[in-house]
Symmetry: C2
Subunit: 313 residues, 2 copies
Amino acid sequence: MIRIGIDVGGTGIQVGVVNEKYEILCEGSIVTHTDIPFAEQIRQIADCVNETTIRAGFSADEIESIGIGIPGIASRKTGEVINCTNMGWHHVPLRDEFAKYISKPIYIENDANVAALAESIAGVSAGTSSSVFITIGTGIGSGIIINNQIWSGSHGIGGELGHVIFDLNGIPCTCGNHGCLERYCSATALIRMGREAASSNPHSGLMKSVNGDLARIEAKTVIDCARNGDPLAVSVYRTFINYLAQAIASVINLLDPEVIVLGGGVSKAGNFLLDPVNAAYPQYVVFRDQEMPPVKLAVLGSKAGIIGAAMLN
Amino acid sequence: MIRIGIDVGGTGIQVGVVNEKYEILCEGSIVTHTDIPFAEQIRQIADCVNETTIRAGFSADEIESIGIGIPGIASRKTGEVINCTNMGWHHVPLRDEFAKYISKPIYIENDANVAALAESIAGVSAGTSSSVFITIGTGIGSGIIINNQIWSGSHGIGGELGHVIFDLNGIPCTCGNHGCLERYCSATALIRMGREAASSNPHSGLMKSVNGDLARIEAKTVIDCARNGDPLAVSVYRTFINYLAQAIASVINLLDPEVIVLGGGVSKAGNFLLDPVNAAYPQYVVFRDQEMPPVKLAVLGSKAGIIGAAMLN
């Protein structure tokens, strides 16, 4: 038996045939088109699933289940996508529409939850029964695993660590609130902090690295300059690490999972991110004289979306 | 069959005999003595359990289980109390010591978790499978129920909503960190805010209500003056409600339980607390166009400690 994992993204949709050992046997992909009708979008995805399944040497009958990870929220009960801005989906019957093409159990889940599940089954947190996965990218996404299951809340609106209030009356957030955690701990936050610091320090290594063009400072720029010892970048990066450490400790103080997993673009900094985070977060844990969750880096990368979706049930 | 619930507190220890309908049939209590040896403390509690059981008309054989709620943390595996400052207990073998007197299953749990369980079984959140209980007292305590079970974390150090970072680099907390949530949402916070405001407004109704003696301003003073329409107290209370609303929305954004339950001293303000909170928190929820958890007042009051402890398993 095989399982199908589908990773829906704003630019492309990845389809994978996954076996019982969580290995991706065969992959397919299509470009995301948001300018065509919903029914046509789904037909294209179903075609890709069928084509990829055949290419892997299986028939549709051998598919045990189909999981779909989306950058949005869905109802587990109805199989409806409630909101998925990148795809232009608002209250669309994804499960019902998909079932017209392939009559197998279909599960839909938020992509951060899917990645959390993948890591907890086949990745760095395999073998644990509870974990919190934090993706550090444009925003902060999160997936909570409790008792080996995704916990996305009673109404499916949980798992939004990025929008926990972290700084009362702080920086305005895209969600309309102020001081949300992702304004301080995301790649976007690191970029903002880097640009602000560089603009006040035109002779810094950070500013020189972009030839004075502030707009060219990305998260990687700050990280690379910090790695190379530029004092300004080191200072900005330390502040960022300190914020992230407080965010992680907050998750531990509330949820105390077996392990915390970091993924997303910023986690590509590897041990240059992990080591200072691991050194900093324990001081913010309330019961700091007790055993506490280790923080680890995600290992499945972009495969997590397919593997986790295939494992949904 | 009956179950024994024990509510351990810094001033007194309450013991209750609870039946299958979650009714307390008989109660006993002893004064907390922290100046006697641990073994003697436990002997006194066991005596009280035996005496109360007999007074309820049962024999020790009819006891199904004994649950102990403590203002601290315990290990579910070993039955050891790891830390319970009010009782002077640090790494004491509570379960083993208690088992010397009564040979029945013994469960030990943090008191906020116990109250959360009690409300979710026999109180305002009865019938729900997930809830977050928030006690607003000297500090902020919390208990998380997921899939009908207490979730206190993998190492037993979770459920500390009061120490989630809420205001980066904010007010120093007793835990050693800065900007913990309980510095803004507890009775202690309301007192601080009331006193600060009154000291700058000596002619306010709030200041007059205590004859100019700032030290006499308690949480109830601010609430009563706000209820009576004193503009300064109204302003302070609105700020407090706004903080609490953001805290509740943060819990929803992360955990999205079926219901949020408010307990503790400040919750005695009743609808004067609940109504403005219910009006304010939805604006801070990310997916605010979706159904979201209602916020309700705890109904079991001081009985929650006994009932919840009796329900531990």
